[in-house]
């Protein structure tokens, strides 16, 4: 484990709050003070988090819509090609191309592609699975999934984490920790 390869560890300031409200408040303030790379860590979605972090509109819905539409079109095209174009067979003298018979599969495929795209789209957006993340270095971070409310700030190069930590402390009742990405 040499410190070679010009490895630049990311540094984080992590504050744990008593409850969601305090956390939200601090988040907002820190953002107003021009901190960019903020993120919160909570056991359950906290109301107003988007606004506090200043996030835009969610992207998932668009992705899912595309998926669904693709599915429907794909289904119809598939059936049309197979039963009408490539090998039309006289089945019980029914019309070779009969739209009503295609509807069920169109629907199913649109749901399938819609659904899968929502899941895998989400994974892509969240960059998960990601087994390691520097914030896990924090002592008490394990509470984040149980009852802890955290705010993490990635400290840009050139800035000193201590300063940021101090700044955070000055804002509210919080226990602050500074962690550094470990090389792997």
């Amino acid at each position: 484990m040499s410190h070679g390869g010009g490895f630049e560890p990311r540094r984080y300031v992590i504050g744990q709050f008593a409850g969601p409200e305090a956390m939200l408040d601090a988040t907002r303030k820190m953002r107003e003070r021009g901190h960019k790379k903020l993120d919160t860590h909570t056991p359950y979605p906290v109301h107003g988090i988007e606004e506090a972090l200043g996030l835009g509109r969610a992207k998932i819905p668009t992705i899912v819509l595309c998926g669904a539409i693709t599915g429907a079109c794909l289904a119809y095209a598939l059936i049309y090609f197979m039963n009408v174009v490539d090998f039309p067979i006289n089945v019980a003298n029914r019309p070779i191309h009969s739209a009503p018979a295609n509807i069920p599969i169109m629907f199913e495929l649109s749901v399938l592609l819609g659904g899968t795209s929502s899941f895998f789209g989400l994974m892509a957006l969240m960059r998960l699975p990601e087994p390691y993340h520097p914030v896990f270095e924090a002592e008490s971070f394990w509470r984040a999934s149980i009852d802890g409310f955290f705010l993490s700030i990635e400290v840009p190069k050139g800035q000193s984490p201590e300063a940021v930590a101090a700044e955070l402390k000055s804002l509210s009742e919080v226990s602050v920790e500074i962690v550094e990405e470990s090389e792997r």
Binding site: I89, N90, V91, A92, N93, R94, P95
Partner: protein, 1050 residues
């Protein structure tokens, strides 16, 4: 990918017994290989597969693979006992003798001796073209007469049996038994080893022993030499007989068949003073009265009778009218316009009553006299009788009365008198000198022989009759007697009950392995030629009889040829080089001009009848109590076909029983006995029937239309021989049978036994539930355009509204369709066996039938209507009707059943995954599913008889009637190569070809002149389940009943 999954057999298109399941599932697993040189050899000898023999060997190896398990390997070894390996030698030797054995003419491909096929690939015979079938004419008969056959053969392996159109009794059709011959030929259970007291014996040793024997008998003129043969009309047999009797003047021949009736011979003798036999001409008969005669269902005349009878069932032309008097429903009874149920014993009473009734009418005084001889014995509803009488008088000269084989001499005599009085003799019935060797050949004929044996007057008994130890009347204890005969020489088809007690067992060559000759019922002679070398070195009865003339080493072929060479002159028009004449005879299958003409000057001796009657009636069965009546079974006859799975699984034409016989009783009798019915009308109480000192346990079956206080028992079951299929099926009704009253007698005690019996019925439901799938109407109604019946017919063929235009097939060259005439169909069920044979349909066994998994593609539905005690019956053959808008097709997920360009509803076995959805959605329920692997354990030898043109279906695959598409495609290719169209009538489906009544028409609906198009345009035409809009290609023609106004109900 699936299309190339390896199948043990897939790699030789020239392998003709496509005897592994189709589709690829069958080939899973790595089969163990065991080498069966004997299998290879023996079958190589029998098989003349084309192409490289390697394929053939590979084929047999793959059989070995199939039978890779030790158990099966052992079985395979058993198939080929020691001695089998020398088969090829035997064949080749006899081949040298047989060489040049006749060639076919009359549109039949050239014929060649079967033995040459033992050595196929080194020198290929001229006429063998790989993959093209040949056809050979021959003949076969159950009751002494021969029915002309044409046998299809693929590279020397008989694969299908058809009727010979030029034959007087066949007219191109066959019955159930002929169709099933193939199974008898390729039957592993056949007797294979010549034995003396279980010591294997070579043919030569046998011959020498026979020589010494006959030497000994010659000393005393054969005083202790007896022959027990089947009833036969074969000229060659008669000739041998004559010569044997010349050599052994004191020897005796006895003809015996347990199903032959002696009443006719004696009755006619009484009437005409000498033995004559009756011949019936139904075409000329407009009123037919059957007295317990099942002339449509059984007997040497039945195939022709059906065609002739059916000819008179068209409402367009003058129709015939059939009255039937019988105890239990028969094929004839089902076709009757009026049926009177009477105990078999009361039929005599009916005959006399009818005679008396006619006697009261002007001009029939003579009959009155005869009737008076009956001393007041009478039976039957007077109203009915008088109606029949009037009808008979009305059609004087064109009426016909037939008495059944079971009936006594008295009945036959009276019937003869009636026919004479009604001027029918010479028109609808003629009398001729008997063709059969012995006029009397029924159970009674056996009694004298039995006495002689008992008295120790028989040293040597040569038995070529079928299984007397089993079929003989119980009181003779014939099996015990046989054991006492020092030299009982049994010509055994199987190691059956008789073989078990005979000192010599000579394996019989199968009819399709034998040379010989036979006579039709009009005397026309057919030559019988072999289609294949004896599979297990069997010998013909000719050779055995020959042994007593010191000609045992002569082959049957030689004996036959010699005798005909000598007789050539006697045949009118048979002039010229004998070889050519011979070849024509063999090729045609009939020797034209050999029919015998009926006796011209016969005078009925009324007085004799009048005197004779009393005695006869007195001798006949009488007394009170329940009547037991025996019938030859519709499937196994007297047991001789009991080892044919096709016939065992064939639903009984009337009661739809498979793999069983039953005690048939009337509903009323069932009630009085307290017979219980469980499950879905297919589980019945078991009865104990006691008669004299004999008793049997017999499961009851309620038979609508059966006479009360009478039990009908079918013979031929409860076999105990070494026949794997036959043994243990049903019960042996024969144990009740006495030689004094072999057919029926009263005084049986019947009681309920404990326990129930579950029948393998293919149809448990009697009623049509007011749905009228099979339409029958009276002539009167049919002729009235405004009648309900006519409206129903109209409605069931009217065009139905549809949301999208039906596909247009009129542009196609062919548009296949079928028409089935319910007016003609008698329900005889020959078509089912034909279909089974043509399409390699497996049999599934009793348990599977019970579960409702029978595989026959074609079924014949039977419905009762009216009151249960005396119902009207209608039968309806039903296979896939090839709907144009087939419900089965659109539900199949994999395109395994679709429509062809010519409108066939195709079933693609190798694509089918077996969801069974198609069957669920088929309103006719004509699809069949391979629930288990029904095919892969088919014995190697059995596969030789399979149709190479039809894929054998694997487990988990749906199958159904294809309109014999393999025949269509072959004919199409042949005609297209020849650059012409298929003509109407040159293409027949298997069912159509076998149908004796000619009830089935098949052909091209785009050809306006074709028979099927005409049939479908008939006024009686209607579509089954028409209201569902399935547009079936098979149309039905309603049955029209020609009712007698005097009797018409309501």
């Amino acid at each position: 990918m699936s299309s190339h999954d390896q199948d043990p057999l897939q790699d030789h298109p020239e392998d003709h017994a496509r005897s592994t399941p189709s589709g690829n599932g069958a080939s899973s697993g790595s089969p163990r290989r065991i080498s069966l040189p004997i299998v290879d050899e023996a079958l190589a000898a029998t098989e003349a597969a084309s192409g490289a023999v390697r394929e053939q060997r590979k084929y047999w190896r793959s059989i070995a693979e199939k039978e890779g398990s030790p158990k099966l390997a052992a079985a395979a070894q058993r198939e080929f006992p020691p001695g089998a390996s020398e088969l090829p030698e035997v064949s080749r030797r006899s081949f040298m003798k047989l060489f040049g054995g006749g060639a076919a003419a009359a549109g039949l491909a050239a014929c060649h001796p079967s033995d040459e096929q033992a050595i196929p690939f080194v020198r290929r015979p001229e006429e063998v073209t790989p993959g093209n079938a040949l056809h050979f004419a021959t003949a076969y008969g159950v009751e002494g007469y021969g029915l002309g056959l044409v046998v299809e053969s693929h590279e020397g392996r008989p694969t299908k049996i058809e009727g010979n159109p030029d034959h007087h009794d066949s007219l191109g059709a066959t019955g159930r038994y002929e169709q099933a011959l193939l199974q008898g030929l390729y039957d592993n259970d056949r007797a294979k080893q010549l034995k003396h007291k279980d010591e294997p014996l070579s043919w030569h040793t046998f011959l020498s022993q026979m020589a010494t024997l006959s030497g000994r008998h010659a000393a005393d003129g054969g005083a202790k030499l007896r022959f027990l043969t089947e009833p036969t009309a074969s000229p060659l047999q008669l000739e041998l007989r004559k010569r044997i009797l010349e050599k052994f003047p004191k020897a005796k021949f006895t003809s015996y068949s347990s199903i032959a009736g002696d009443g006719a011979a004696d009755g006619l003798r009484l009437a005409y003073g000498k033995y004559v036999e009756a011949r019936h001409e139904l075409t000329r008969a407009s009123v037919i009265v059957s007295l317990d005669a099942d002339f449509l269902g059984e007997g040497p005349e039945s195939v022709r009778a059906m065609r002739q009878f059916a000819g008179g069932r068209l409402p367009g032309a003058p129709m015939n009218r059939l009255y039937v008097v019988e105890p239990a429903l028969t094929v004839t009874g089902m076709s009757a316009d009026h049926r009177l149920r009477l105990r078999a014993g009361d039929v005599a009473g009916f005959a006399l009553a009818l005679a008396a009734e006619l006697g009261r009418r002007p001009g029939f005084a003579q009959l009155a006299g005869i009737a008076s001889g009956g001393h007041g014995v009478t039976a039957g509803d007077p109203k009915w009788i008088s109606a029949v009488a009037s009808d008979l008088i009305k059609h004087r000269g064109q009426s016909l009365l037939i008495a059944g084989r079971r009936q006594s001499a008295a009945v036959h005599a009276v019937v003869a008198a009636l026919n004479a009085a009604l001027d029918n003799v010479g028109t609808t019935v003629t009398y001729a000198t008997p063709l059969l060797a012995d006029p009397l050949s029924g159970p009674k004929a056996l009694a004298p022989l039995a006495e002689e044996i008992a008295a120790g007057q028989v040293d040597t008994l040569v038995i070529t009759a079928y299984n007397p130890a089993y079929t003989a009347p119980a009181d003779l204890k014939f099996d015990k007697l046989l054991a006492r005969v020092p030299n009982a020489i049994y010509w055994a088809a199987y190691e059956d009950e008789t073989a078990a007690v005979s000192s010599y067992v000579v394996p019989a060559a199968h009819a399709l392995e034998s040379w010989g000759d036979a006579r039709a019922t009009d005397g026309t002679i057919s030559l019988v030629q072999p289609l294949i070398a004896p599979l297990w070195g069997g010998h013909t009865d000719i050779e055995i009889l020959g042994a007593f003339l010191g000609e045992g080493d002569l082959s049957a072929y030689e004996v036959l040829r010699r005798s005909w060479a000598a007789k050539q002159a006697s045949v009118p028009g048979a002039t010229g080089e004998f070889d050519q004449v011979w070849e024509k005879w063999v090729g045609d299958g009939v020797i034209v001009g050999t029919e015998t003409s009926p006796e011209a000057a016969l005078t009925l001796d009324a007085a004799a009848i009048q005197q004779g009657l009393g005695a006869l009636l007195a001798a006949g069965p009488k007394g009170a109590g329940v009547e037991i009546a025996f019938v030859p079974d519709y499937k196994v006859v007297d047991g001789r076909f009991a080892n044919s799975a096709w016939l065992q699984e064939l639903p009984d034409p009337v009661h739809k029983i498979t793999w069983d016989n039953a005690a048939l009783i009337s509903p009323a009798m069932a009630k009085s006995l307290g017979v219980e019915v469980e499950r879905d009308n297919d589980k019945f109480s078991v009865l104990v029937i006691e008669y004299k000192d004999r008793r049997v346990h017999a499961p009851a079956l309620i038979a609508p239309g059966h006479a009360d206080d009478s039990i009908t028992l079918a013979l031929g079951y409860g076999r105990t021989g070494a026949e794997s299929v036959a043994s243990g099926v049903g019960f042996n009704a024969g144990v009740l049978r006495g030689s004094d009253a072999p057919w029926f007698d009263r005084g049986a005690q019947v009681s309920l036994a404990t326990g129930m019996h579950l029948f393998g019925l293919t149809q448990n439901h009697w009623s049509m539930e007011n749905r009228e799938p099979a339409i029958a109407t009276s002539l009167a109604d049919f002729q009235n355009p405004r009648s309900e019946a006519r409206e129903l017919l109209e409605e069931r063929r009217a065009a139905l509204p549809t949301i999208h235009e039906p596909h247009d097939y009129s542009k196609e060259q062919y548009k296949w369709g079928m028409a089935i005439d319910l007016g003609k169909c008698t329900g005889c069920s020959a078509c089912i066996v034909a279909c089974q044979s043509e399409n390699n349909i497996p049999t599934v066994g009793r348990d599977q039938v019970v579960r409702g998994r029978e595989m026959q593609w074609l079924r014949v539905d039977r419905y009762y209507s009216g009151e249960l005690e005396d119902p009207e019956v209608i039968v309806q053959p039903l296979a896939c009707v090839h709907c144009e808008t087939a419900p089965c097709e659109y539900v199949c997920p994999v395109n395994a059943t679709v429509h062809s360009d010519e409108g066939l509803n195709e079933m693609v076995y190798n694509r089918c995954v077996g969801t069974r959805y198609c069957s669920n959605n088929c309103p006719y329920k004509v699809r069949r599913f391979n629930f288990l692997d029904f095919t892969s354990e088919t014995p190697a030898v059995r596969r030789l008889g399979m149709n190479p043109e039809v894929t054998v279906r694997s487990r988990g695959v749906m199958e159904k009637c294809t309109y014999c598409v393999q025949r269509i495609e072959r004919k199409r290719i042949d005609t297209r190569v020849a650059g012409r169209l298929i003509e109407d009538g040159e293409l027949k489906t298997a069912c159509q070809q076998s149908c004796p009544a000619g009830a089935i028409e098949f052909g091209n609906l785009n050809d306006l002149k074709s028979r099927v198009t005409k049939a479908q345009a008939d006024e009686r035409r209607y579509d089954l389940l028409h209201e569902l809009g399935t547009r079936p290609r098979t149309a039905y023609l309603a049955r029209v009943r020609n009712l007698n106004p005097e009797l018409a109900k309501g």
